[in-house]
């Protein structure tokens, strides 16, 4: 466990003359060094040696070393100030006398006892010319400081051997010094080995306080700001004091993860509790991954730079299927066994949450627990079980206790059985067998009943480096009134829950005050459907303009907004507007439950064009169930009609509208938990044929841009979304052989995935579909397939 002193922990105690106790923190030492004119590099060196000395001291005392010989307070005082006179000659002697005369009262308003002052001065005086003792019993305060000084180079721990290499080089031409260095070397190495044996930890682990020493790597990597932590809104707590240590793991880069509001909520929620430490870990870039591997360093958390494997629990958020390989790569980098079944008492509990847990099976073998539904209360409940559970060393018992919490699924307790129905001669999933009879038959989703009183962070983390969304984001509503049949989020969330306008405003203005952001966004699945959205938006825009902040609404249904509201948006947002008709014909739009008509779009254009909006984006999907060529062509035809309409509108109104339309097409992926979960996903060939047809059709419409999503990425997404537990083997192989970051085009390799499926002995096909039209309750042959994700109660139950 981390000892005091390492990195900014204000726990130092110094005796004053009246024998009261006075806190002197790490930042006070910085002030002392500054007051005595220590240059930047000296300050940094002193702080690093001080940290290491305090850590070594703590480990030795903790392992039962003689408190009469090692004085923790003298070590602390001398360690942080040992080189304060290094800018001048004879810095050891000068430094010691500086300490003897130091005006602590003037600098800090604290007094230091004469005995302590003298003990520390003595250490500083001797630290350059110390002969190391032959055995651990001879270790005293001065030896502790000297050991720290001999293993820290400038401001980073490098170890004794690396440091000695420098010394030998430096004194190559001074034999008397060199002899002494060499003579001490064997003794010191022996001493270090004894300390390692006594404490059962490596010396590096001791000196760095168990932190992962990434300081020497930071100058070598791209965008090092990703790894430094310490942002506004971040919390660094003393590790040793916590009853529960949770690492929130985001399986993508820092700048992606920092825009994720779910992390902000859980981070704030857990850190509010004094007994809980919550830190963050992100997937590291390829350069950092390479350096960590080269130096044998594990994946680390940002706050205390602790190895991820030292946390009690590690929680991954699964936002989309293509991040699965990153989860496995992060577990590997952390040194945590991949499979839950291989983890033992020394390993953290690894859990997951997020939208993808609607089908937890493809990743099930890698997690001890899976959280389904709203995360806030579940995570708090799991923390409580951890803290209260008397036999928490027994993983099995802990997991069983957790599986009683609503919203928790313990996949290891459910064994899938395959057989019966086949897909291409491949046995499909048939049922689960429970390990214990008292386990629930399926996992219920967790539901936060009231959003108004639910926790929401007012001091969000502010990314050090520009992230995807740098703004205050406030969740105004959870769940969705609309039930677009393809939308997993709409079905997964229980009924609609809202925050009141007053609470929303309070969260926004607190957030602005605590971050300095100048942009605000309202989060929900369909902001336009928030009851009273017109009033809220109007008021917010007025109130925000007073503080020079703006409002942006990513998922606004423009067709529902009134003209005056749009006019207000237009006043500062000139960039563009987005519509999502999703399908090219009214027939298909009706079939997928998308309640938007062509008239809605044209009416919205009537209003938007005179307001100065120029760029419009229309979102469509291809590969939808029941789709025909007519629906594909319908997309281009709709675009054509819109272009003509705008031209005619301009003529009729005597205006020349600048108008730019982009058609953006993604591939429909049937998702578990939606009414379309039994639909067969399109094959690669089908999708490619449709894209080609559409591309040709859109090309004929003048002035319309066309963008489409990578077909192969969508195919992999589909295989993972609808996979059963056997797919985990393909994911493991893909993670092992690939580069991770599958959602990044430059990293994604379809070939890698195909060979992973082949070597896992699995067909790269959608296995779970029924030969029926949507709405049929029986298939043509009368047999409905059993779905592997039926182990999780899907959101429909709450409709």
């Amino acid at each position: 466990m981390m000892s005091e002193g390492g990195d900014g922990l204000e726990t130092g105690l110094l005796r004053d003359a009246r024998n009261d106790r006075v806190m002197i923190g790490r930042s006070d030492f910085l002030r002392i060094l500054e007051a005595h004119g220590a240059p930047e590099h000296v300050k940094r060196h002193c702080m690093a040696v001080g940290d290491a000395a305090v850590n070594i001291c703590g480990a030795l005392l903790g392992a039962g070393s003689d408190r009469g010989r090692i004085d923790a307070e003298a070590v602390r005082l001398a360690g942080y100030l040992h080189d304060m006179a290094r800018a001048g000659r004879d810095h050891d002697v000068v430094g010691a006398s500086m300490l003897r005369d130091m005006d602590f009262e003037g600098i800090l308003g604290a007094r230091v006892s004469d005995g302590l002052r003298e003990a520390a001065a003595d250490i500083i005086e001797r630290h350059m010319r110390l002969d190391f003792p032959a055995g651990i019993v001879g270790v005293d305060s001065a030896v502790v400081v000297a050991l720290a000084d001999r293993t820290v180079k400038e401001d980073a721990y490098v170890g004794y051997k690396a440091r000695m290499k420098d010394l030998v080089r430096r004194y190559a031409d001074v034999p008397e010094v060199l002899d002494r260095v060499r003579e001490n070397m064997d003794r010191t190495l022996g001493l270090i080995r004894e300390i390692e044996a006594l404490t059962g930890r490596s010396f590096e682990d001791i000196a760095t306080g168990g932190h992962v020493n990434i300081a020497p790597l930071l100058p070598l990597v791209e965008r090092p700001g990703r790894y430094i932590g310490g942002e506004m809104g971040s919390t660094r707590k003393e590790w040793g004091d916590a009853a529960f240590r949770f690492c929130f793991a985001f399986p993508d880069l820092y700048e992606i993860g920092m825009s994720y509001t779910g992390m902000q909520v859980l981070y704030g929620l857990l850190n509010e509790r004094p007994d809980v430490v919550c830190e963050r870990a992100f997937a590291v870039g390829a350069d950092m991954a390479g350096l960590l591997a080269e130096r044998g360093l594990p994946l680390f958390s940002l706050e205390n730079r602790m190895p991820v494997r030292r946390f009690d629990m590690v929680g991954f958020t699964l936002q989309h299927e293509l991040c699965y390989t990153n989860v496995l790569r992060m577990l590997g980098q952390a040194g945590i066994p991949l499979y839950a079944s291989e983890r033992g008492d020394g390993d953290p509990i690894v859990i997951s949450g997020g939208p993808c847990t609607a089908n937890a099976e493809p990743m099930a073998p890698f997690f001890d627990l899976v959280c389904v539904g709203d995360g806030e209360e579940v995570l708090a409940a799991i923390a409580d079980v951890w803290i209260e559970w008397s036999v928490k060393d027994d993983r099995e018992a802990f997991l069983r206790a957790c599986s009683r919490i609503q919203g928790v699924y313990a996949p290891g307790f459910y064994e899938p059985v395959y057989g019966g129905a086949r897909c291409d001669a491949f046995p499909k999933f048939s049922q689960y067998t429970k390990k214990y009879q008292d386990l629930p038959d399926y996992a219920e989703r967790a539901v936060v009943p009231d959003l108004e009183t639910a926790f929401f962070p007012v001091k969000p983390l502010v990314s050090h480096i520009e992230s995807v969304h740098d703004r205050v984001a406030v969740e105004i509503m959870r769940g969705c009134y609309r039930k677009c049949r393809f939308c997993q989020a709409g079905y997964a969330c229980a009924g609609v829950r809202k925050r009141s306008a007053e609470r929303i405003k309070q969260l926004i203005f607190d957030g602005l005050a605590n971050t300095g952001y100048d942009e605000v966004t309202l989060l929900s699945l369909s902001t336009g459907d928030y009851p009273g959205i017109e009033g809220l938006v109007t008021e917010l825009m007025e109130e925000l303009s007073v503080v020079d902040a703006t409002l942006s609404m990513p998922s606004l249904r423009l067709d529902t907004l009134k003209e005056d509201t749009l006019a207000k948006i237009a006043a500062y947002k000139r960039s563009g507007l987005t519509f999502a008709p999703e399908a090219g014909t009214q027939r298909l739009r009706d079939a997928i439950g998308k309640q938007i008509t062509e008239d809605d779009i044209l009416r919205a254009l009537d209003i938007c064009l005179p307001l100065g909006f120029q760029k419009f984006k229309f979102y469509f999907m291809i590969g939808l169930p029941g789709e025909t060529d007519e629906d594909i062509d319908g997309i281009a035809e709709l675009a054509g009609r819109v272009v003509r309409y705008v031209k005619e509108l301009g003529v009729a109104r005597g205006e020349k509208y600048r108008f730019n339309l982009n058609v953006s097409v993604s591939n429909f992926v049937p998702k578990p938990g939606t009414p379309f979960e039994r639909v067969r996903g399109n094959s690669e060939e089908e999708l490619i044929a449709k894209v080609h047809r559409l591309k040709d059709a859109v090309r004929k419409v003048k002035g319309v841009g066309f963008k489409y999503h990578d077909t192969r990425m969508s195919r992999v997404e589909m295989l993972l979304a609808k996979g059963d537990r056997r797919v985990s083997e393909a994911i493991r192989l893909a993670a092992e052989r690939g580069t991770g970051f599958d959602s990044w085009r430059e990293h994604f390799s379809y070939e890698n995935w195909l060979s992973a499926f082949a070597d896992a002995g699995l067909p790269a096909e959608d296995m779970y579909f029924d030969d029926c039209e949507f709405g049929d309750t029986v298939t043509k042959n009368g047999i409905m397939s059993t779905l592997p994700w039926s182990i999780i109660a899907q959101g429909k139950a709450y409709e």
Binding site: G8, P39, E40, H41, R44, A87, G88, K153, E154, D155, D166, L167, R169, R170, Y171, A172, V174, P216, L218, P219, R223, P224, G225, Y227, I228, G229, G230, E231, M232, V462, H464, I465, E466, D470, A513, N514, T515, G516, Y517, D518, D548
Partner: protein, 233 residues
């Protein structure tokens, strides 16, 4: 009202890029009640600038930021002191405003336009006989170094000797270099301290990849070698 902040950038914060630092200051200024004024126009931008961008990985005790305070009016010095206190309370560890000044009306040019050179303290272990090596390096009439070509984006061998203005040994230490180098920061002829150090290593038979120098910018100077902070005194 125009204000100038002198601030430090040390510790982990040396790894924050120039643009991200600008974003950080915009945010803390907003929080402090000292909002920067914005330019008019289609894409308003804050009237805020740094005297001389600092490379990622280099410490500094002398960074300069100037900005026009929003509203055109004047704040009392007590108000500004209080705002700077708020700013220092909000800034992450490693960035701290050390002093502030009101930019005199007579100084109309930007601080950046005065920046002609900068001094860097370079501390590095594993370099023996630094005084001799530095003297030999500065005695050269020509020093070629790989420099990035701003226009093409590629690297090219360029003459850097004219941009190496001066050096001094801060302390003659055995096996450890502690020296100060003053390098050109003129817009067309900027020499980065890391490029200087690499060229020095090459000329002195040292492997720069083996060494890990701690470089700290200690002064930003005008053409007459006066620290620019004096310009606004």
């Amino acid at each position: 009202m125009k204000l100038v902040f002198e601030f430090t950038k040390t510790g982990n914060m040396i790894y924050i890029s120039h643009l991200d630092l600008a974003r950080l200051f915009l945010r803390v200024l907003r929080m402090s009640g000292l909002r920067p004024a914005y330019s008019q126009g289609f894409n308003p931008h804050p009237k805020m600038s740094f005297a001389l961008p600092l490379a990622v990985g280099v410490h500094s005790t002398c960074e300069l930021l100037e900005f026009e305070v929003d509203g055109g009016g004047c704040h009392s010095y007590a108000y500004i002191d209080e705002a700077v206190g708020i700013i220092n309370g909000r800034l992450p560890e490693g960035v701290r405003v050390t002093t502030w000044r009101e930019k005199p009306d007579g100084v109309t040019k930007s601080l950046a336009s005065y920046a002609a050179a900068a001094s860097y303290e370079i501390m590095c272990e594993g370099i023996t006989d630094a005084p001799t090596k530095l003297a030999a390096f500065f005695a050269k009439e020509s020093v070629m170094a790989k420099k990035r070509d701003k226009k093409t984006g590629g690297y090219a061998e360029k003459e850097i000797r004219p941009q190496m203005l001066a050096y001094r040994i801060i302390k003659d230490m055995r096996g450890r270099m502690l020296a100060e180098a003053t390098l050109s920061a003129a817009s067309e002829a900027t020499l980065r301290p890391a490029a200087f150090f690499t060229a020095f290593c090459e000329a002195s038979g040292l492997d720069s990849k083996e060494l890990s120098p701690v470089i700290t910018r200690t002064a930003i100077l005008d053409a007459g070698s006066t620290p620019i902070i004096e310009v606004v005194k």
